[in-house]
């Protein structure tokens, strides 16, 4: 005769699953934030490099809501860069690119760590899911008997 899983154990497993799910959501949103930051840094590098490559220093400046104007960069060599702690410093174009590349590497390292944690959480969730599935099947089988 099949012994059904204790209802309390089933409920606890459901709680675990819910809790892990909430944690996973937080890590997923952190991953998204890191990815956005990484893409933004790549775009900035591309723009900084493009600025140096133009002969007349004219760029298309986006004002928002799809509106843009042609603008002339007076000093493409000088870049105002937020380095952290709400501090902005003036850097040379190349230095700014180097800084952004370092930031990208940092973000990629963080992404790796968050992704590893997320993988661990998901594998724990899979385990719980399997146990829950077994529990439900046992309950159903016991009911049929």
């Amino acid at each position: 005769m099949i012994q059904p899983m204790d209802q309390r154990e089933l409920m606890t497993l459901q709680h675990y699953l819910k809790e892990y799910g909430q944690q996973a959501e937080i890590f997923v949103s952190q991953l998204e934030m890191l990815e956005n930051g990484r893409m933004e840094a790549h775009a900035a590098i591309e723009a900084l490099e493009g600025m140096m490559a133009t002969e007349d220093g004219v760029v298309l400046l986006q004002l928002g809501a799809g509106a843009s104007v042609r603008a002339k960069i007076l000093e493409p060599e000088k870049v105002m860069l937020a380095i952290g702690s709400e501090v902005v410093v003036e850097r040379k174009n190349k230095e700014a690119i180097e800084f952004l590349k370092e930031r990208i590497m940092e973000m990629e390292a963080s992404q790796k760590k968050v992704a590893e944690t997320l993988d661990r959480l998901r594998s724990q969730m899979n385990e719980i899911n399997k146990r829950l599935e077994t529990g439900y099947q046992q309950s159903m089988a016991a009911g049929e008997e």
Binding site: H15, Q23, Q30, I83, G84, S85, E106, S110
Partner: protein, 351 residues
């Protein structure tokens, strides 16, 4: 933990050492071998002139003489290296006031003081950086000592913004205190977030800690009042009061927190935030402290924070000690913040 900051600090420390070393080499310029030389102006303790003929024995003697001489490092000698250190700290999200304090301390430790040439440049620089960091980090917070020296139950209220790991931190600290031999009761004061009561309930059950719960949507002040009553009647050592996450600019939620404070009269208000938030965590802690007060801070997710800016700056910026650091998912992944240990790890290359 704080791998990026560690790497950058060690590089900055090495650059600072090189600056001192190069000034010494330039001013001494007389082949002092491996003995670290020092800067301008220098005065000689033993006034013998350098040897003209060079033989191994004479060089050895000269090394001894140089080692016995003294030097003074000038502000100019290290200004470039200090500027680099300043940028390194800012890039690691160390708050500006904390960065300024560290730079001022290092400058004060190194500039204008007489140094023996024999003194290792490395130890001079690392020593100055260590004492600067220790000054900024403060003394931490000895929770066990606090509990032992205060009337029971010691009531600890946890506050902070949403999603930073407050509830998990309450469970981790409960587990830590239980292992240290204290009896603990948890108050499920987050009656707002869906599933929060269940979440803390599961933690408490897993840890074998008594929990006081009311239905979802209830008054958190009532839950926490009942928790304190339970602790009083059962002679429990510590009350850990969980609360809903909130932002400091939400007036109604902050006034709810003030009510909780009035009702349960906590001995300690602990602000919880995540280390990965960097300078934002420092700003938020400052605002929380200003609005409802905080006695100590816990930083979570430090294992994912490569920069370490929040951990370095928070105590100095808001003037409240860092109590615990959360470093992972399991209950044991929390440790009391030990400033000396953190500084050693950052500068001595410990793990």
């Amino acid at each position: 933990m704080f791998g990026g900051l560690k790497e950058k600090l060690q590089a900055a420390s090495s650059r600072l050492g090189s600056s001192i070393q190069s000034v010494v080499t330039a001013s001494g310029s007389s082949g002092t071998g491996t003995a670290p030389q020092v800067s301008v102006p220098e005065k000689e303790r033993l006034g013998s002139s350098p040897p003209r003929s060079v033989s191994p024995s004479l060089i050895d003697k000269f090394k001894v003489l140089v080692i016995e001489r003294e030097m003074i490092v000038s502000k100019k000698d290290i200004s470039d290296a200090l500027s680099e250190l300043e940028l390194t700290l800012l890039e690691s999200d160390v708050a500006l006031p904390a960065t300024d304090a560290i730079i001022a301390h290092v400058r004060k430790s190194i500039v204008g003081k007489q140094r023996k040439i024999g003194e290792s440049v490395d130890s001079l620089v690392v020593g100055a950086l260590k004492s600067a960091l220790l000054e900024v980090l403060g003394h931490g917070f000895d929770l066990l000592g606090y509990i032992q020296t205060h009337p029971r139950p010691v009531k600890i209220l946890f506050t902070g913004v949403n999603g930073t790991g407050k509830t998990t931190t309450v469970a981790k600290i409960g587990s830590y205190l239980k292992k240290q031999g204290f009896s603990v009761v948890i108050g499920a004061g987050d009656t707002y977030r869906a599933g929060a009561i269940e979440q803390i309930g599961v933690h408490a059950e897993r840890l074998g800690i008594k929990i006081i719960q009311h239905p979802e949507g209830g008054d958190p002040s009532a839950v926490l009042f009942d928790t304190v009553q339970y602790a009083n009647s059962h002679k429990i050592d510590v009350v850990l009061a969980d609360t809903a996450g909130r932002f400091h600019n939400k007036a109604n939620l902050m006034s709810q927190l003030e009510k909780i404070k009035r009702v349960m009269k906590p001995d300690l208000v602990v602000y919880v935030d995540e280390a990965v938030a960097g300078n934002d965590a420092v700003t938020r802690a400052f605002e929380f402290d200003k609005t409802i007060g905080a006695d100590a801070v816990v930083l979570t997710k430090a294992d994912m924070d490569s920069r370490g800016g929040a951990a370095i700056s928070i105590a100095h910026t808001i003037g409240k000690p860092l109590m615990f650091i959360g470093t992972g998912q399991s209950y044991d992944d929390i440790a009391p913040f030990e400033p000396a240990q953190v500084v050693d790890e950052l500068l001595d290359g410990g793990s």
